[in-house]
Amino acid sequence: MAGVTEAQKLFARVLARQALSDDTYEVEIERPPEFSFVPGQGVRIFWSDLVREYTVTSSPADDRLALVVQIVEKGRFSSHLASLEVGSIVSFTGPHGYFTFQSGSRPAVFVATGTGIAPFVSMARAGITGFTLLQGARHSEGLHYRSVFEPAAARYVACLSEDRSGSPDQPWIYEGRVTDFLEKELVPGVYDFYLCGRRAMVRDVMSIADDRFSGSRVFFEIFF
């Protein structure tokens, strides 16, 4: 990226790589001692002539940085990052971004689709509790990190848009999109919404917030 010198970059070894699903991995790298961040912030990773941003999923207290990487079709960068061998060196800058938790009196509602769950994982691992989390996915296979949220969230709802296999012993599953839940299930009120995911989701939830939850605050980060 223009304006970044080699001296500004940090370098860290890959410590571990774990598959979360067929196309999604969690990659852990060393956390350089001089690197600190707030949950919700990310790093800018450099490889070849490319640069991509990834939100950290680990807690700031951890001695390693965890990143969630989804391999996208024709995605040279994501394929490279997800296939790095342990011991490989990654160069990056950071922390970057402002999508961080703002404590206040309004109930917090986290809304994530796909790898947009990443900032909320870091927040939960850092000890933020009492929020409602709507995690959107097509199928239950896309519900990563549920075990992280169960002890932290006041309410966890998995919104499955295509999987209709929910059963009575899985009351946390909602059959429909996150937008359906917000329009039909969430009690009207004033909230702090935190949105992270695809552009269309962010756009639609903003409209719903304006219409149904007037006076709420909306923080967002778009993952493409």
């Binding site: 961080t100 962010v202 903003m206 409209s207 917030a209």
Partner: protein
């Protein structure tokens, strides 16, 4: 990365501190004027000659400052997000003053009011000066509204910076005409 979200198609937008506001909100107006100023500086920089006496570097520093200022304007003063923003303070204004002093030392004394114009680069600088003044007025308006409705905010640094930046733009216009050998025309009352 796509350049649009569609989240503002109905005339509202989100501040960096999360509040949903109309796009006519004074804070958004101020951000818009600072953005327009930055674009005008871009046109000015694009018109500079190769031998520019260091103007390009100085003006690109100002462009980076304006991004920092825009982020601050887009954040309500009671937001914790303020602590994450890049610093913006008196040192930014002091750097502008040092630049003005350096360029002014090479200029002849003013003989009266100068007609805005001359070489196209100088004309861009005069235009940037007036956009800067408008941005300054909007930020002052934001500060006054914030004082009335909430805890107030430390916009004094931003106001001082824009005040000094308009002086720098005047100086840059004069330096540009000097570089290109275009005589300044003074107002004949």
């Amino acid at each position: 990365m796509k350049a649009y979200t569609g989240g503002g198609d109905r005339g509202t937008t989100s501040l960096l501190s999360g509040e949903r506001v109309a796009k006519s909100h004074s804070r958004i107006e101020a951000c818009g004027d600072v953005d327009e100023l930055n674009c005008t500086l871009g046109a000015l920089i694009a018109s500079l000659p190769t031998k520019d006496r260091g103007l390009r570097g100085e003006l690109e520093n100002v462009q980076a400052d304006l991004f920092r200022l825009g982020a601050r304007l887009a954040t309500n003063p009671d937001s914790a997000a303020l602590s994450l923003l890049p610093t913006f303070g008196p040192e930014n204004t002091r750097r502008l003053e040092a630049t003005i002093d350096r360029f002014e030392a090479e200029l002849p004394p003013l003989q009266g009011f100068i007609l805005p114009g001359g070489h196209p680069t100088a004309a861009w600088a005069h235009l940037a000066r007036t956009v800067c003044r408008r941005a300054e007025r909007r930020v002052v308006q934001c500060a006054h509204e914030s004082d009335r409705t909430g805890p107030g905010e430390p916009l004094a640094d931003a106001i001082a910076y824009l005040n000094r930046l308009s002086s720098l733009m005047f100086t840059v216009a004069r330096v540009s005409n000097q570089i290109f050998g275009v005589a300044e025309r003074t107002w004949q009352a």
